[in-house]
Amino acid sequence: MSKVINKTLILFAISLSVIQARAADPEKRALTAVHHHRSLRADLPNALAFISTEFQVPIIAEIAIDGPNEIVIPEGSDSAARLLDLIISQTKYNSWEELGGVAHVYNKELQRSTGNFLNTKLKSFKLPNNVSDLKIGLRAQLYSAAQGLSGTVISDFPSRELSKERLPSKSFRNATGRDILIAAAKLSPNFTSIIVFPRKNPKGKDDLDYAMGHWNWISLNRTEQPPAGGPPYQSR
């Protein structure tokens, strides 16, 4: 009887410690927390979106469509980090790293490519006060800067959900789009941003337009649907 009680207490203590860890260290809570998840067969962007929403993990992803067509995640009990490892093991050119509680998933060649607009530096950028405005403003400024332009012209959809994710005041100088995006995710770890490039060495305006048109944002406190106008990971 006492052994049963002791085991129960130990389990309770473990559970309590997990809860306390979650409460005490929100950056680590989602990446290391283990829970049961369903199985999934999906392309890479949707697999990343699944992990992000299932585990409430902010993910910044820059991937190319010339990856595997299908990722397989078996049903089981895992952490987000373990599933990211699983995904990466099924892809040839990708990697991931944890940056202050944010999972950064990237195509290794694409990350270094000069045609990747996330490598474009903005002379100055001030974080807007919410993620919805970041979605519109950063995208427009990177689109212009990638073409050597300074101004922006916008026709875009603000997000009701992302507009609830507040951002602190912060200014950047000579920062890349990637730096700004990851910094914003650290400051407001309630969104995921997945950019699908047409190739790992994007070139020209067509490739730029494609990637801009396949830049998906997900609110982790969402009630609205993420953009779903066709598979983001489609071949051209």
Binding site: K123, S124, K126, I136, R139, A140, Y143, S144, Q147, L149, S150, G151, T152, V153, I154, S155, D156, F157, P158, S159, R160, D209, Y210, M212, G213, H214, W215, N216, E224, Q225, P227, A228, G229, G230, P232
Partner: protein, 446 residues
């Protein structure tokens, strides 16, 4: 028994025939004169006189007499197509106290209804009413039987004399011993009963009792009480739930332009995908379910073709955008417009998940340092109101708008013009001319 019987009715057509019998019920031989009459007595057929020994009985198939055109003892025939008439049987040897008895069967070849009569009795035909009987699954019905007197043509309800009701298929219709039936599942069944009929007597002698078996078909149809959603959009699939009765294993018909794929069905529900063709026309369709050949009632399903975009809200130009260009800042403008998709009848398409896209064609651009077109956007799915999930925000920040005055407002000016084309599920629904200015955004049409 008697010396003569006159006026008994017979019937011969595509579904009926009559068999008439005459017999000698006496102890000695008797000569019988047997005649058929038609056309109010204008046609007459006289069989040759015949001597019947005691206990002997003969039968006449009236249909054969007419169809064979065999002449009677006077060389006459009844015209082909003769459908009804009467007959007379006479005992020529015993005019006062005859020994002849007589009987008649009228056969209904379609439903097996049988009328029976004898010489001094008027025959009765019995039949169930409402044959075939149409029911929907779950309906209850009390079937009843009527008897028609062949002499008078009068009809009366004889249901209370029926018994032993049964159904040929209890999965379609159940019927209790007394005739109360309940439609169980879609399909066709036959319900039968027994009934003992006593013909009315024309004389003092009692008429014999005949046991007959009237039958009727019951067609039980599935029912559709609702379909949800009751609308879908062209060039897309719509998952629908059809609720009703008798639906297990049913097929669904949804009208032109809609291909139906059933994923599951139970007795009360069908889950199906309506694949609506891109060339399907705008309008109502009649959706029915068919089960075992029985067709349900129809319910409406509206096919909507995206035709236009309606402006739900428009903020107009609002000066609350902070533009930082080349290190300088000014108050830029934005304009937020919320659209919803309308069908060919200018009704909103209340469907979520429509693929809404915008594309641009560059016009003139005097706004230094800005792209000629806005940043390409991700496709947006419509919400359940058929609206874009969020407003379309239009804004511009250009160095050409600088410098800002003391209030932070732009003093420079420029115009960037684009043609903006919207599509919904591939249908072009709106084309806007947008002129971005430093302090306003003009959209045509409004």
């Amino acid at each position: 028994m008697g010396p003569m019987w006159k006026g008994g009715m017979w019937k011969v057509d595509t579904t009926h025939n009559s068999l008439i019998t005459a017999g000698n019920g006496g102890g000695t031989a008797a000569t019988v004169a047997f005649s058929l009459f038609a056309a109010d007595g204008k046609s007459r057929y006289d069989f040759p006189d015949r001597t019947l020994q005691a206990g002997e009985q003969i039968w006449v198939d009236v249909a054969k007499v007419i169809q064979s055109q065999l002449p009677d003892k006077n060389g006459k025939t009844l015209p082909l197509g003769t459908a009804a008439g009467s007959y007379q049987i006479q005992d020529l040897d015993h005019p006062l106290i005859g020994y002849i008895f007589e009987g008649k069967l009228v056969l209904d070849k379609t439903y097996g209804h049988v009328g029976y009569g004898c010489a001094r009795c008027c025959a009765k035909s019995v039949a169930q009413y409402d044959d075939p009987l149409g029911l929907f699954v779950g309906d209850g019905s009390a079937q009843w039987v009527a008897a028609t007197d062949d002499c008078t043509g009068g009809s009366q309800d004889v249901t209370k004399y029926s018994y032993g009701w049964y159904s040929s298929n209890t999965s379609v219709v159940e019927v209790d011993y007394n005739g109360a039936s309940t439609a169980m599942g879609a399909g066709t069944a036959e319900i039968d009963a027994f009934i003992d009929v006593v013909s009315d007597t024309m004389y003092a002698d009692p008429c014999p009792t005949a046991t007959m078996m009237p039958s009727a078909y019951v067609n039980v149809s599935p029912t559709i009480t609702s379909i949800s959603p009751a609308h879908g959009v062209s060039a897309a699939n719509t998952q629908v739930t059809i609720t009703g009765t008798g639906l297990a294993g049913a097929t669904v018909q949804a009208g032109p332009g809609i291909s139906v794929s059933i994923s599951s069905s139970s007795s009360t529900q069908i889950q199906a995908t309506f694949a609506i063709a891109s060339n399907a026309t705008n309008g109502q369709r009649q959706v029915t379910a068919t089960n075992n050949g029985a067709i349900s009632n129809a319910v409406n399903f509206l096919v909507q073709v995206p035709t236009s975009l309606d402006v739900v809200s428009d903020t107009g130009s609002v000066q609350d955008v902070s533009c930082t260009v080349s290190g300088s800042t000014y108050n830029g403008v934005r304009r937020d417009i919320l659209y919803r998709v309308m069908d060919a009848n200018v009704q909103p398409i209340l469907t979520s998940g429509m693929s809404l896209t915008e594309s641009f064609q560059a016009g003139t651009n005097s706004c230094t340092g800005t792209p000629n077109t806005p940043t390409p956007t991700v496709n947006a799915p419509s919400d359940s109101l058929g609206q874009f999930p969020n407003v379309d925000r239009l804004a511009i920040c250009s160095v050409a708008c600088l410098p800002a005055n003391s209030s932070g407002n732009p003093t420079g000016s420029c115009t960037l013009s684009v043609t903006q084309t919207w599509t919904a599920n591939g249908f072009t629904v709106r084309t806007n001319q947008i002129a971005y200015h430093c302090s306003s955004v003009a959209v045509t049409p409004q």
